[in-house]
Structure formats: C-alpha cells, structure tokens
Subunit: 314 residues, 2 copies
C-alpha cells in the first residue's frame, strides 16, 4: 500500500494534472469588511463533481489501477454524498465499475449525482457502523477494492494538490482555514503546508459537537457516532486512524469549534455576498475565521463543496 | 442630454475602466451536454452590487456630474431592486446624495442592499404608475436629477461595456442571449454588437406574458402593466421609449418567449450545476437557449444578476 508522504503527494499532483480543475480563488469586498481582513476563498465547490473529493478519488482510482492492474475488478466505498460522487466520477473516467453504499439520510442531490455517474448505489442505515457493515458485505459479494472516504493514503495524497494550488495562487497567505470531518482534506493541507510553507498556520474548524480537541489530546470521544450538524459533509465523528496522528502533530493547537448558528450565518454571507451556492459544510471554515479574535492578515478559506439540495434554506 | 451612440458607449467604457469589474465568463460541462452546444455564461451577478446595472448607473452618476457640475444636488430613481442598489452604490462612490422609490413587493435582500449603500428609500405601491408618480413627487421635493432605470441614455451607453467585454472574452461567439425587461441592457447589447460584430445574433428572451413581439411589431400591449413572473427583475411590461426603436431595429425577429416552468428549470440547472446563486431573472436567457431548436454553435448567455432572497426556492 502507498504511503502518506510529500513525495507521494507530488506524484499525485502530476497524475491529476489536466484531469481535474485548478479551482479559482475569489475575493469579496463585503466579506473583507465584515471580517476585517483580506479573505481569499479557494473554490473547491467548482471542482469536478462539486467538491475537493475528486482530487483524492481520481488519484485513488488511477493509483489502484497502476498498483493492481487487471486484478482490480472495480471500486467500492461508503459515503453520504461527495466522496461517492467523486469516486463514481473517477471510476467512470477510467471505465472501472463502481459501487457506493449510501446512508438513507444523504441529500437527494448527492444521490442523484452518483446515479448520473452510472455507479451502483446500495442504501443503508444512517450510522457509521451501518455504512461500514454494508460496505464489508458488498466487498465480499463483489470483490471490488474499497476506497475509504478519508482513511486512505491515495485520497489524502490526492487532496494535497489543493494545498499546492493555494501556495501558488496566494503566495502572501498566512493562514488556511479548513473544515474537518473524517480528516482527509485537513490532514493533506496540514502536512503539505508544514513542509512547503511552515509560516502558514492551518486552522481546523469543526462543529462544536465533534470535540476534536479532546479526541486528539486525550483520546476521548463522545458517545454518539455521528455529529448532529447542518454541515452534512462532516457528520462523521471520528477522524480516520491515518489522519489522527497527522492532525495531532500539526494542528492540535489550532482547533476552532463553531455553533450551528455560526455555520448558518457564515453560509448566508457566502450565498448573498459571493453569490456562490456552496453547501453548508463549506461555510464552516468562514465561521471559524469570523470567530477568531487574533486575525490572520491574509487568510485562505476553503469552500470545500457545492452540492446542496434545492430545497435547503440556511 | 447625451445621445445613445457607439461613440458615447466607447466613452462610457473608458469612464468605467477600473471602477467596475470585468466580469468572468464561465462554462459548465453538464450544461453543455444538456444544451448540446458550447455555452458561455457571462457573470454579471459577480458585478459590483450583484448586477449589470452598476455599469449604467456609475456611467450616469459620473456623466450627470460632468454635465451639470454643482447644479446637481443628488440622484433619484424608482426601482424594484437592482437599479436602486446600483444607483445607490454609484452615488456613494461619487459622494452624491441618492433617493430610491421602491415598490413594497421588492425582494427584501434588494431593499437591504440599497440601505447599505446609505441611500434614502421611499416605499410606494407595486404598479409602474405608482412608482412613476411617487418618483415625480420626490423629484419636486428634493430637486434631484432623475436617473430612469432603463429609459436613460447614460444607462444604455454604460451597459454596452458588457457587450464589449463579451466580444473580447468570447471571440468565437455566434449568439448572445439576453433577458428583456425595460430593455436597457438588451438595447445596449443589440446596438453595440451589431456595430462591432454583426455576425453575432442577439436573442431577446422574455417571460411569455410580456408579449414583446406584438408591442415591437404592432404597437399592441396587454392591459396589465406588470408581468406576473418569478423573474422579479423584469416585471415591467413596457420597454422604454428610448429602447423600443433600438430593439425593433435590431432584434424584433429574434424574440423567444419562455414559460414560468422553463425559467424555474433553467434556474435549478444554474444553481445545481454551475453553483452560481443567480436570481430568477438571470435564468431567463438560458431558458430561451434551451427552447431554441436551431442551436448556436457558441452561445453567450448573460447571467444578469445574483440578488435573490435567502428564502427563495425555485
């Protein structure tokens, strides 16, 4: 199995070149005024399939294909939406069969997106355990290679291409704000930026029910297994086992917890001011930035995705 | 009073340079597939104040200032939203007092936008007559110069800067689709493009209740004075007297009427596929393009604005 390393991250970036978008960075005068600083939004909602997940997913499908050749019969995962869409899209690019296990409470738009990329969808219950159990059953049945949504080295290495673009596009950046769910994107950003630009501080922003700080520092987890939050992309409570040591090493001191109200206020700002129709999870990092008293001079806020049901109103 | 002419349009463009955005042009693979052609979206929802209106409004404020000097005490208009916001913003840039007469049924977000640019707001009834009567009263009271939303040469000359950008940004364009309300933007686009690139066909797209074709060709108007449509930016029935001959000359044969359902379907596509949170009026031109059987090879669709209430769901 491939390692999580800067070398593999660079390899992934080359592998992805020309196959994914270099997403734009935008600014908004009204939000700069409100935030009292010079905010740069990295538009991952404009990435293929509408989220950063396509970076890691395409790296995973291409990587598995290189690694296993014809032994790979297809790819399989569990996902509440963005990872499933991204893997389905990546598999379609490579003409590889794909199956996604989806909790019943996933947003309809995300389910529709997966169907469009011609993947097989298997519905399951809403807990992480339900997802993992059904995924294991399907793996036995189909013999496909499992690509975990965040706890997968290919995914993490692929996501680092987002960090590389940020460094190129906003060389004056002094902070990056990223939402943390399973920790795949957050790990990639922390590790790559620490290597290339250790002067940039990476903040992890979470819905307060996640309690990441006590998990990273004291290995303590609340008793529920999904976080009850409007940010449907980061409802998973536990960060991945591969992500935990990375987040603990690079960013345990830079965690910001935000309330549901703060997430909704940030989302309203993004919708009305930037006119970008991002999903609730994408508003979490801005909520974190707005909460911070000691402002960064030139913060980059990652808008992680834009897949949101039409009926959703913040 | 200034003329509507190509010369004045070029003068306006110079006057506006560096003061408004050159808005981006974006594409969307999913919509290209659905439309069966290579669609370019001109992003006027990313213009200052969230609509193309800032082009004309700033040209008007600067022009009136040049023309009348200290005799001008301030600017006054009536508007259901975008023009009011744009004029308020333009007046604030030039430190000029501003008053906007607003129908009570205008979207809240647009009213809030005007307040933010420190303009005085005077509420009135919902018909065009109500707006014009109240505006005339305020003019008498304040002595401000009236800047009509569309029936104003400065406005039309300023809007032509959008056509100039389209020609530069999409040289391979063979058609432009524009929504028509009062006709200010549509006139500017028709006239400027006919002069510079007569090979590009300009299509006027209207909600079907507007019946523009019989107005332009037979001078016949329905009995209502506002069009009952979800596209709140183009509810005015009559195109301006200045606009009518221009539209009749350049585009009377290229009118496409769309239903409310077609507007909403186009809006859903834009929201979910491009992730751009445009307002309903901005979806009208795409609805027209999708209805057309004889496709353009390289159409430009103008997304005219992005000011939409948070509670609005298509």
């Amino acid at each position: 199995m491939v390692k999580i390393s800067i070398e593999e991250m660079e390899k992934a970036r080359k592998r992805l070149q020309g196959r994914i978008h270099k997403t734009p960075v935008i600014q908004c005068e009204a939000i700069n005024k409100l935030a009292g600083t010079n905010v740069h939004f990295k538009c991952e909602h404009l990435q293929k399939t509408g989220s950063f997940k396509s970076r890691g997913a395409l790296n995973a499908v291409l990587g598995v294909k290189e690694e296993r050749g014809d032994d790979c019969q297809g790819v399989l995962t569990h996902s509440s939406g963005n990872h499933g869409q991204a893997l389905a899209w990546a598999a379609l690019q490579c003409q590889m069969p794909c199956c996604v296990v989806v909790p019943a409470n996933a947003p309809q738009l995300k389910k529709d997106g997966m169907s469009e990329y011609k993947t097989d969808i298997v519905l399951c219950g809403n807990t992480v355990k339900d997802r993992e159990t059904t995924c294991a059953e399907m793996q036995k049945k189909l013999g496909y290679d499992v690509v975990e949504p965040f706890n997968n080295a290919y995914m993490i290495n692929g996501h680092a291409s987002c960090a590389a673009e940020i460094i190129e596009q906003v060389p004056e950046a002094d902070a990056v704000f990223v939402a943390v769910g399973g920790g795949g994107l957050a790990s990639a950003i922390c590790m790559y930026i620490d290597e290339k630009r250790p002067d940039i501080k990476v903040y992890l922003v979470e819905p307060e029910a996640k309690q990441l700080k006590s998990y990273l520092n004291e290995d303590k987890l609340p008793e529920y297994d999904t976080v009850n939050t409007v940010a449907d992309g980061i409802r998973v409570l536990r960060v991945g086992d591969l992500c935990k040591p990375i987040l603990a090493k690079y960013a345990a001191g830079n965690i910001i917890s935000v309330t549901e109200e703060e997430i909704c206020e940030a989302l309203k700002l993004i919708w009305t001011r930037t006119k970008q129709r991002v999903e609730p999870t994408a508003a979490v990092p801005l909520a974190g930035l707005l909460k911070l008293k000691d402002k960064a001079r030139c913060p980059v806020v990652i808008l992680c995705g834009g897949n949101v049901d039409l009926s959703f109103v913040p």
